[in-house]
């Protein structure tokens, strides 16, 4: 089976390169395919080639003609929604993978430090009490949810901080406690809310891309891309930390600084995602596990592959959400769990691998 050891290791590295390359190329191609497919579907069906032509025309690469309505549907209605779903899906999945690596806990996910509840409190303040409406106008729910999410992680971080260090166990517990507390605040606000406000909160909590527009994309894109590149830059540190924080430190990792940086990037992504699309569960928890099973656990591939898989998954989920009961919309959060959970369980059983990576 094996040749000399030297060859084995060299081959391993080449194999690894090939494997990473193939996985990434396949995922990127799938992502493009899914985007085109998703633009095609809706009340008005649009031919995939037309979609591609419209995009290329928009980029100034080709010149062609089609109806004004087609261009509006592709560019103004479907494209921003699909692209935001892709970015949020990518962001949540990579943040989930980084959180799982940081906490060395398979149940970690982007919302584990209470950020979703914090965002919900922000959104509920706007929906129920009208706070912030005057200041931020139409964006008030997004701005308040963003502030709520980031405020929560700041509070959780300072609660967990002792003598200049932030033990991950304490952070996890502080996050869960804070999340429960904030969820109670949201429940209290639901209780006092009017019927219409209550309906709006419940819908917001289930997540949706229905209101996504190009203006949102200009905000979401840079924030989430910064987060993704930032997290990827710390892949090696995350790998080292899988051997324990003590070992990572002896290997030269500034553990406390790295923790802080990873939390900042993950929080940026999560706050952006949750403030624009509400609480979409499951993507951040499951996608990293799927990638670990199918591709590998090295964060250099786990992080980008999770991001791509998350994008693909959330576009598909959102497409289902807007087409399955058309013209009505189903909250995308329902779809992610409804479709994602059975697939994940199937994969888990089929691979017969335990989920205890640590």
């Amino acid at each position: 089976m094996k040749n000399s050891d030297k060859k084995t290791n060299r081959n391993t590295t080449t194999d690894k390169k090939r494997k990473y390359f193939v996985a990434l190329v396949l995922l990127i191609l799938t992502l493009f395919g899914v985007i085109i497919f998703s633009v095609m579907l809706g009340p008005v069906q649009i031919h995939p080639l037309t979609t591609i032509a419209v995009f290329l025309n928009k980029l100034g690469l080709i010149d062609a003609n089609w109806t004004q309505a087609t261009e509006i549907i592709v560019i103004d209605i479907r494209a921003p929604r699909i692209l935001i779903a892709a970015l949020v899906g990518a962001g949540l999945a990579i943040a989930g993978a980084a959180m799982q690596g940081l906490f060395k806990n398979p149940m970690a996910e982007p919302y584990i430090l209470g950020m979703s509840s914090g965002a919900a409190v922000g959104a509920a303040l706007v929906i129920v009490l009208g706070i912030g409406v005057g200041t931020f106008g139409a964006l008030s729910i997004q701005v308040m949810a963003f502030v709520g999410a980031l405020g929560t992680i700041l509070i959780v971080y300072s609660i967990a901080r002792t003598e200049g260090k932030v033990p991950v166990e304490t952070l996890l517990l502080a996050g869960i406690a804070m999340g429960a507390f904030l969820y109670a605040v949201v429940s209290a606000m639901k209780f006092i809310a009017s019927d219409e406000a209550l309906r709006n909160i419940v819908l917001w909590l289930m997540g949706s891309f229905a209101r996504s527009q190009w203006d949102d994309l200009y905000v979401v894109t840079p924030l989430i891309l910064i987060g993704i590149v930032g997290l990827y830059a710390f892949s090696r540190e995350l790998n080292a930390m899988q051997f324990g924080e003590e070992t990572a430190m002896y290997l030269g990792v500034k553990v406390e600084t790295v923790k802080k940086i990873i939390l900042i990037f993950a929080a940026l992504i999560t706050a952006t995602g949750v403030s624009h699309a509400g609480i979409i569960g499951f993507v951040g928890l499951i996608m990293p596990h799927v990638v670990r099973i199918l591709i590998g656990a090295d964060h250099h591939i786990l992080l980008p592959a999770s991001a791509l898989a998350g994008a693909i998954f959330l576009i598909l989920a959102d497409t289902l959400a807007r087409t399955i009961a058309s013209p009505a919309e189903i909250p995308v959060g329902i779809i992610t769990a409804f479709v994602g959970a059975p697939y994940f369980i199937y994969l888990m059983r089929k691979k017969k691998k335990t989920m205890s990576w640590w």
């Binding site: 050891d5 084995t8 051997f243 290997l251 640590w358």
Partner: protein, 300 residues
């Protein structure tokens, strides 16, 4: 004829200079070290030097401050007084990566993740040398050093196995290989033989000796077993009651009196020609005798 006379002298100077340089580097020097939390002192007045090619064992009863001393040397704890020098550099003024390039630590516990292979684990030792944040692949040089480290330790055949598939003894060897991949000048090992069978105990300590001699590094090893400490260390440091009770060669340190004082046991110390080392047999604990009693007995 003149030339012939000059040549050896010339070489002698060069050789002595090379030796000098080697002797100067790869050492740990500890000066007036005191460590504590708030008002509680854990270590007082620690002074010692570990030179190149030396294996220095730190021994002492539980709670004597062995772990604290290691944590201070590795810059995990900040001393309240005194300085730890790695190659004449104050460890507190070194960056974590710089420390990792100078000193490798084999900790008592390493988390084992079934996600990674032995090769992955050993190649992590290259971390402090890698500057590229974005490439997932090791350079040819990093691969070579990783392979050489695995070979030196003798775990290259395990390369592709995941870490949950190797035995406890092999795992410890893998951790040592990772330490070697750091290309350290100083090796620190915290109870490297605890929980291992006798075969792996002796294997690992001989390996440490070989590394220290072969690479002219210095090593500090915390050990519980006095016999292994006596046999494998050039120098021993016996910690007791927050201080160094005794420092020197195993024969100087492991005397009946010192063992009695530090460990509160009655022991017999013999010399074994077979292993060319002293051999300690613990007879019984000293029942109900406090330090004061021992003083009255005229031991201290």
């Amino acid at each position: 004829m003149n030339k012939l006379k000059i040549k050896p002298l010339f070489f002698k100077i060069i050789i002595s200079k090379i030796k000098c340089r080697k002797m100067d580097t790869n050492e740990v020097k500890i000066e007036n070290l005191c460590v504590g939390y708030k008002n509680i002192n854990i270590l007082n007045d620690i002074n010692f030097l570990v030179g190149s090619g030396e294996v220095v064992g730190i021994i002492g009863p539980n709670g004597a401050g062995k772990s604290t001393l290691l944590k201070t040397i590795t810059a995990v704890l900040r001393p309240t007084k005194g300085i730890v020098y790695l190659n004449e550099k104050d460890v507190r003024k070194m960056d974590r990566k710089e420390i990792a390039r100078t000193m490798a630590v084999v900790p008592q516990h390493t988390l084992i993740s079934p996600m990674f292979t032995v090769y992955d684990m050993v190649s992590m030792g290259r971390y402090p040398h890698i500057k590229n944040r974005f490439s997932p692949f090791d350079s040819a040089r990093d691969i070579k050093i990783t392979e050489d480290s695995m070979k030196m330790v003798g775990v290259e055949h395990l390369s592709e196995k995941t870490l949950d598939a190797v035995s406890g003894g092999e795992r410890q060897m893998v951790v040592i290989a990772r330490a070697l991949a750091q290309e350290p000048k100083i090796l620190i090992l915290d109870e490297p033989t605890s929980n291992l069978d006798v075969n792996h105990q002796i294997k690992i300590l001989k390996l440490v000796q070989n590394i220290v001699r072969g690479k002219n590094v210095s090593a500090i090893v915390v050990l519980h077993d006095l016999n292994t400490a006596a046999r494998f260390c050039n120098k021993l440091i016996l910690l007791h009651d927050k201080r160094i009770l005794s420092i020197g060669t195993p024969r100087e340190v492991l005397t009946i009196e010192n063992i009695r004082k530090a460990y509160k046991v009655e022991a017999e110390v013999n010399y074994s020609k077979v292993i060319n080392s002293i051999n300690i047999i613990v007879l019984d604990e000293l029942n109900g005798k406090s330090d004061d009693d021992l003083k009255n007995d005229g031991i201290s």
